[in-house]
Symmetry: C2
Subunit: 195 residues, 2 copies
DNA sequence: CGGATCGTTGATCAACTTCAACGGTCGTGG
DNA sequence: CCACGACCGTTGAAGTTGATCAACGATCCG
């Protein structure tokens, strides 16, 4: 479990064995079943979670009871409700497991303590957030610029393997489209493919 | 100029006088006229810029020649094309000044050097990016969840002062709506207001 | 003054949603 | 181990939101 975490961190910064020991001491492990909640709207997000294995989603539910998925997180991704985690406010987001999942988690207090004790983790998280920011920018622009089909194709191109793991109606929710729309897009693509 | 920058940094982390001297030595100043480009698509984004005074926008231009604004940055905001700045790739974004603007800028190399020489800046940027991430999440969800009118009202509520500084068609571009739509929304709101 | 820019309004149009019905598959409890 | 229900994807028809196209008036600025 910790191997996956250390491997991920070491893609961005160097860690000494001592660093690793320190880091490990701040984290705890947790397993989730399929459909199990990690966080529910209105609760306080106590932990920042790294996915060692499995797949989760974060989403909001609107007045009409519809889901809106903001993020999928699989192996090597972090997930939390940032506003809630950082400021210990009520969470706006729900997070649950799409597959059986194994997490490596750190509490709010330990997150602060970790970055103080192992300052290079400030750097790691900065690099992590930088990348994440750039991705979110692209996604927002894409959501304004592109048609439904273009958005679907862009996702399929960016994360081809993940489409096979995620039910189609969840993809729809992630892209901000109706499930029927995805179905029709796929049909239309398949027909054109056949030429 | 540097006062604004230091004030902003010190909202998040503490700086010694020595830190300030070090920080200042890495930054340079620049003025932009109205409509002047800070960055054009295809160029390399050499600097990360802090707005000391004025107002800018970052935007993409699609195949049909339409603008899509991803961000407004006024006093106290940072702006750049992150992908381009970090990896020195060709910029996807354009950035230009909506008002006369004064910037405090740091180059890519100096950004790296700064975070190494003044490690607390890693922390500052991490905190900055954290907040930014949370904001972008909310914006993306909002763009999927809400109607045109709701998006407009949400923006008006979040940044009431800024609506007076930004031409209406740029607001439209930021929200991913046609200029005519904003016009009609405002009319409709005004009519209802009159009741 | 003349051109560019900006907001407004009306008419039409297209993309996507909504609603409804159906068939297949999966998983769980009897 | 089978049967039932929940869940999921598909398809068709109708409805709605917001985009597009076009024209016009106002303002700003060189």
């Amino acid at each position: 479990m910790f191997d996956v975490l250390f491997a991920h961190i070491q893609e961005k910064v160097d860690l000494t064995e001592l660093d690793k020991e320190s880091i490990q001491s701040f984290f705890s492990l947790r397993k989730l079943r399929k459909r199990q909640y990690l966080l529910q709207q209105g609760a306080i997000c106590t932990h920042l979670s790294f996915v060692a294995k499995g797949l989760l989603r974060s989403f909001t539910v609107d007045e009409k009871g519809r889901d809106h998925i903001s993020l999928f997180a699989w192996e090597g991704w972090w997930i939390s409700d940032f506003n809630s985690f950082l400021f210990q406010e009520e969470a706006q987001l729900n997070i649950d497991a799409i597959e059986e999942t194994q997490l490596v988690m750190i509490s709010r207090a330990d997150y602060e303590a970790l970055t103080l004790k192992v300052p290079i983790m400030d750097r790691y998280f900065r690099l992590l957030y930088q990348n994440s920011l750039a991705t979110k920018d692209r996604r927002l622009i894409s959501s304004h610029t592109h048609t439904a089909e273009e958005k679907y194709l862009q996702l399929a191109h960016s994360y081809p393997h993940i489409l096979q793991r995620i039910p189609q109606h969840l993809i729809a929710s992630y892209l901000g489209l109706a499930p029927e729309t995805i179905s029709r897009i796929r049909k239309s693509l398949a027909l054109r493919q056949a030429d």
